[in-house]
């Protein structure tokens, strides 16, 4: 496929699709669109959503955070019954904390260790508040669904972050935390760490104790002790997740809006992923204004001005002419406004397309309503996929 990849290739042939981009561009919607289309093509598809808008969540049958995928009644996404029999659609709303708990249980040596960690206050903070935990758990959930097998297509939404690459770095953050020198010192037998620690670290710990109280430090020490022996498992797991994402059956799709900053961010993101040897296969610019013809903005504005001048001319001659001229001038100004928006957006999009390499590029227009039901999801899909679904491909 020297001509490059298409969204049809992605939805029909990839095993994992990760939707990424900054907040407010419709990532969750796009993720849902991919999963629905996969199911319609006869694949067993699942979408992992993060914080979906309420009505979209209702559509996907997601009432609460869940750790297990929930299968959506076929009647709802395929009312015409036209999808091949293998098509199935499931969804889940990521529960960060439970996913982390599950991971701890998997790598602990016994129940006692699990319990010690889960009840530790520092762990509870790490599992809910450490920046990057949500991203990390989204990737972890993806890996879990992959390992359990059964799904042909796993689509993952990523959390809205200012820095769109955080999720790739997230698994490494925890291992960094575990590799920390302070951590090693804290692993020394009780209170001994204060003897062997360097003067600077001693001062630091004393200050921290003074500032936040010794209780906090004790929690941290207890956590790292409880965690002993598990770091290796976590480290390996993080490496496996990254390896899975780097496989050719994994696909990254960047979602953007046509605004200058969003487009810049998307291009930057695609380049950074490429540097990590993870090429972006798709770029979706969402909520694009329609073009409304191809006339130049300047010409249209000049026309509006001529009409406005005509208006004062006819006003002197009396009659309804003045109102007509005003109305027509306003129509021209309005068209000029929208042409200007369209030109600006197309300028930004051309820039990002040039930087997208061989990735598939699609523009999804501004729809006249919010996307939250299956009909609207299908409407978005029509801008990404060709109308006639290709023969379904099932990933091993």
């Amino acid at each position: 496929m020297s001509e490059g990849v298409t969204f049809d290739d992605i939805v029909a042939g990839r095993h994992i699709v990760v939707c990424c981009g900054t907040g407010g561009v419709g990532k969750t919607t796009v993720a849902a669109v991919f999963a629905v289309e996969g199911a319609r093509r006869g694949r067993n598809a699942v979408v992992v959503t993060i914080d979906p808008a309420k009505r979209l969540a209702n559509t996907l049958g997601l009432e609460a955070l869940s750790n297990a995928p929930h299968e959506i009644d076929r009647q709802r996404w395929d009312p015409a019954g036209s999808a091949p029999p293998g098509g199935r659609l499931s969804a889940l709303m990521l529960d960060t904390k439970s996913t982390f708990d599950h991971l701890v249980a998997t790598y602990s040596t016994d129940d006692d260790q699990t319990q010690r960690i889960l009840s530790n206050r520092f762990y509870r903070n790490v599992s809910t508040a450490l920046s990057g935990t949500q991203e990390y758990m989204a990737m972890e959930k993806l890996y879990e669904l992959h390992e359990q097998g059964g799904y042909d297509l796993i689509v993952v939404d990523t959390p809205p972050t200012r820095h769109a690459l955080d999720f790739l770095d997230a698994p490494r953050r925890l291992t960094r935390l575990l590799d920390n020198r302070i951590f090693r010192l804290l692993m020394m037998p009780t209170r001994a760490y204060l003897r062997v620690a360097s003067a600077a670290v001693q001062r630091f710990l004393r200050t921290v104790s003074k500032v936040v109280g010794t209780e906090v430090i004790d929690d941290v020490v207890a956590f790292f002790r409880a965690f002993e022996g598990m770091e290796e498992g976590f480290r390996n797991r993080a490496a496996s997740v990254l390896a899975l994402l780097a496989e050719p059956s994994s696909s990254f799709v960047v979602v953007s809006s046509p605004r200058r900053d969003a487009v810049e961010e998307a291009a930057f993101f695609a380049e950074r992923l490429a540097e990590s040897d993870i090429p972006v296969e798709g770029l979706i610019v969402n909520r694009v204004h329609p073009a409304f013809g191809n006339e130049g903005v300047e010409g249209l504005r000049a026309r509006a001005e001529t009409l406005a001048a005509k208006r004062s001319e006819v006003a002197r001659a009396a009659g309804d002419g003045a109102a007509s001229a005003r109305q027509l001038a306003e129509l021209y100004t309005n068209l000029a406004d929208f042409r200007q928006v369209a030109e600006r957006e197309r300028h930004h999009m051309a820039g990002v397309k040039a930087r997208a390499g061989r990735a598939a590029v699609a523009y999804v227009p501004f729809l006249s309503r919010d996307v939250y039901d299956f009909d609207a999801l299908a409407e978005v899909g029509r801008h990404l996929f060709t109308a006639a679904p290709a023969a379904p491909a099932r990933a091993g």
Partner: protein, 309 residues
């Protein structure tokens, strides 16, 4: 200033700053999430930790958690090792042990700026809506975890600042669309109930102007005939399509803005969608003029007990 990603929070921050500066007040904008397009709105290079002038009477700076942490340590006798501790990740351990600690340090620094009277108005370009709640909740959450010492004192002082409407109010920003409106309403109730912070009027951004009456291609042809001008059929259909699009979006937007008004009994300030260009100083001036006219029209009580010196 708080709102969901993509609603133009940064634009509204710049607009409020320009409005306040226009009224003769000195303004300090504090960015807490690093990089944004704020400085570009004033045609200036990106902000840093040191204050920079953005426009007459408007200054800006960043105040990220890491910067606040280093700042705190430096003023608490750890100047020599503070940077190294951040680099080594040791602070990450401590910050994880005490969630909200970074946020409280940022808010603590804002409070210090306020007490030093760094400006007449300090505008914080807050994190995206979801995180804005955790951000503003941090002093209460910390109160439970840390009961003594300087952090605890810091929390108490920050809570005092947040709950005094004469010192602090939150402006929520949305665009008139379903999801941003829902999120704004949720955030508003949570901020009031859980943090007890006073909400200022909400800002509805990027509103289309009133489109006037509906027209058809026939109408356009009739208008052209009446005026004796030529409009090609293709142009007529473009004119109608663009007008129709604006009418549809306008109707949807009105519906959403009205729904917001019905669910949240706060005055609204509506800022227009600007077709003409990328946002720069001239556009911010236009928005500021609209903003200020609408603020003048609000009833006195809308802004709580805030008194402008």
């Amino acid at each position: 200033m708080a709102g969901k990603g993509g609603v133009g929070k940064t634009t509204v921050t710049a607009t409020l700053a320009a409005t306040a500066a226009g009224a003769g007040l000195s303004v300090l904008i504090v960015e807490v999430e690093g990089k944004s397009g704020l400085a570009a709105c004033f045609g200036r290079p990106p902000l840093g930790y040191e204050e920079a002038e953005l426009a007459p009477r408007v200054r800006g700076r960043t105040l990220t958690p890491d910067e606040a942490l280093v700042d705190y340590l430096e003023t608490h006798g750890l100047k020599r090792i503070s940077k190294r501790l951040v680099r080594s990740g040791a602070l990450e351990v401590v910050a994880s042990a005490v969630p909200g600690m970074k946020d409280i340090l940022v808010l603590g620094k804002v409070k210090a700026l306020e007490l030093d009277h760094a400006a007449d108005v300090i505008i914080i370009d807050a994190p995206a809506a979801g995180h804005a709640i955790t951000f503003l909740m941090s002093p209460r959450g910390l109160g439970d975890a840390v009961r003594v010492g300087p952090i605890s004192k810091q929390s108490t002082d920050v809570i005092e600042m947040l709950s005094d409407p004469a010192r602090c109010q939150v402006i929520l920003v949305a665009v008139p669309e379903e999801t941003p409106v829902n999120e704004l309403v949720d955030t508003a109730f949570q901020l009031e109930d859980r943090i007890g912070v006073q909400l200022a009027p909400v800002v509805v951004n990027a509103c289309y102007p009133d489109p006037g009456v509906a027209v058809s291609v026939d109408d356009v042809e009739r208008l052209a005939d009446e005026l004796g001008v030529f409009v090609s059929p293709r142009e007529a259909s473009d004119l109608v399509a663009a007008a129709e699009f604006r009418r549809e979006r306008y109707a949807l937007q009105q519906q959403q803005a009205d729904r917001l008004a019905a669910r949240l009994p706060l005055p609204q300030i509506r800022l227009p969608f600007l077709f003409t260009a990328e946002l720069g100083p001239p556009e911010i001036d236009i928005l500021a003029a609209t903003f200020s006219a609408q603020v003048d029209a609000l009833p006195e009580s809308s802004w709580g007990r805030v008194t402008v010196p």
